[in-house]
């Protein structure tokens, strides 16, 4: 595991089409680094470039587009890099390897989901709020449907969950009937998004909704959360299945 401090950054420049023992060179190198326990490596693809042969390779010309430049980078301690260089030189063939001194300010950490406490939104229980947002299916936010943008915004803001419903018939602010007919696919049905989370979470998200929704209704009601179970990523399904499903059950609280 890489620690903060002095380290070496290795950049390997190869051509996309080059192969080593019949498989792509970059993939051989990546496998080699992976099984030698290197803490991380990234392959990036250039869109144009030239190398030792002095041919310009660009993605514009179809016939040589498999010769685009690839760069593989990884950062490791000096000792590890010295161990790896011999084999790497063999693997790169005609490619180039560059090594430079670098400083690791913050090493990457393993994501250890198994022992992580569940995220804050996974712990809601008891009294909560349900937020319903009523909009039209054809409403847009920038370049995408508004309901998609709202779901993405909620996800980004850690709202526990949201479901989008499409009405089959209805009317709203403009007294104009939205109707979903099977033959001519209407794109202006009523859309309802329903999200449940703690009141503070929803209140802090409210300004974002208000800024995104130009026209619509936001409806808040009190609910009791009976159960909110989830399946942690990376957890063995057999261990997780006892009580964890991606299900949410809620009872509406009558006031």
């Amino acid at each position: 595991m890489l620690n903060a401090g002095k380290a070496l950054k290795v950049s390997i420049y190869i051509s996309e089409g080059s192969t080593h023992h019949g498989i792509a060179t970059y993939s051989s190198i990546l496998d080699f680094l992976f099984y030698r326990g290197v803490s991380g490596a990234t392959v990036t693809k250039g869109i144009a470039g030239f190398g030792a042969d002095h041919h310009i390779h660009t993605s514009r010309s179809v016939e040589i587009s498999d010769r685009l430049p690839l760069k593989i980078e990884f950062i490791e301690s000096r000792e590890t890099v010295n161990e790896l260089l011999g084999k790497l030189e063999e693997l790169v063939g005609t490619g180039m390897i560059e090594v430079q001194e670098t400083t690791v300010a913050k090493p990457a950490q393993k994501t250890n989901l198994k022992h992580d406490a569940p995220p804050a939104h996974m712990k809601i229980e008891g009294k909560a709020k349900m937020m319903r947002i009523y909009i039209g299916e054809s409403d847009r936010w920038r370049d995408k449907p508004l309901y998609t943008a709202l779901v993405e915004a909620m996800r980004a803001n850690d709202i526990a969950g949201v479901t989008v419903y499409r009405g089959i018939l209805g009317y709203g602010a403009h007294r104009r009937i939205h109707r979903d007919r099977p033959l001519h696919l209407s794109h202006d049905s009523s859309i309802m998004l329903s999200a449940i989370d703690a009141e503070e979470k929803l209140q802090s998200f409210m300004p974002i909704v208000e800024q995104m929704v130009e026209e619509g209704l936001i409806v808040l009601s009190n609910v009791d959360i009976i159960k909110y179970a989830y399946r942690a990523e990376g957890l063995d399904p057999a261990e997780a299945d006892s009580s964890s499903t991606d299900q949410k059950t809620e009872g509406e609280q009558k006031q």
Partner: protein
């Protein structure tokens, strides 16, 4: 423009096959809501469910069933909702009507009355 106020949410659950005076019940109720000047009414079709009579409502792509569960939702001020209630008694023969209290934030481009 932004308004915030207390309101009621009325939800009516019945089957897609239910009729009122020869018309699908959900269309009849939506028409009644418009006639009474309620702010909105939206009909949702469930994909599976059962209700008062315990018969399973199913909407299957293969045999286009006309008996899926229907949920009609109306949000308006209490006095507006109360205008509709007497009509529902006659129209909904078999079904469930639920009312809950909600807080509404209404956003509109132009000033309009809910």
């Amino acid at each position: 423009m932004r308004e915030q106020f207390e309101a009621k949410m009325l939800r009516i659950h019945f089957g897609e096959g239910d009729k009122w005076q020869g018309k699908p019940l959900h269309e009849a109720i939506v028409a009644k809501c418009q006639e009474l000047g309620l702010a909105n009414a939206i009909v949702y079709r469930g994909i599976e469910g059962y209700g008062a009579s315990s018969r399973i409502h199913h909407s299957s792509l293969w045999r286009f069933s006309k008996d899926a569960p229907i949920m009609l939702s109306i949000i308006d001020r209490e006095e507006q909702i109360n205008k509709l209630l007497p009509h529902l008694d006659g129209m909904v023969e078999e079904g469930l009507i639920a009312i809950s209290s909600v807080e509404v934030i209404r956003l509109s481009r132009t000033a309009a009355k809910l």
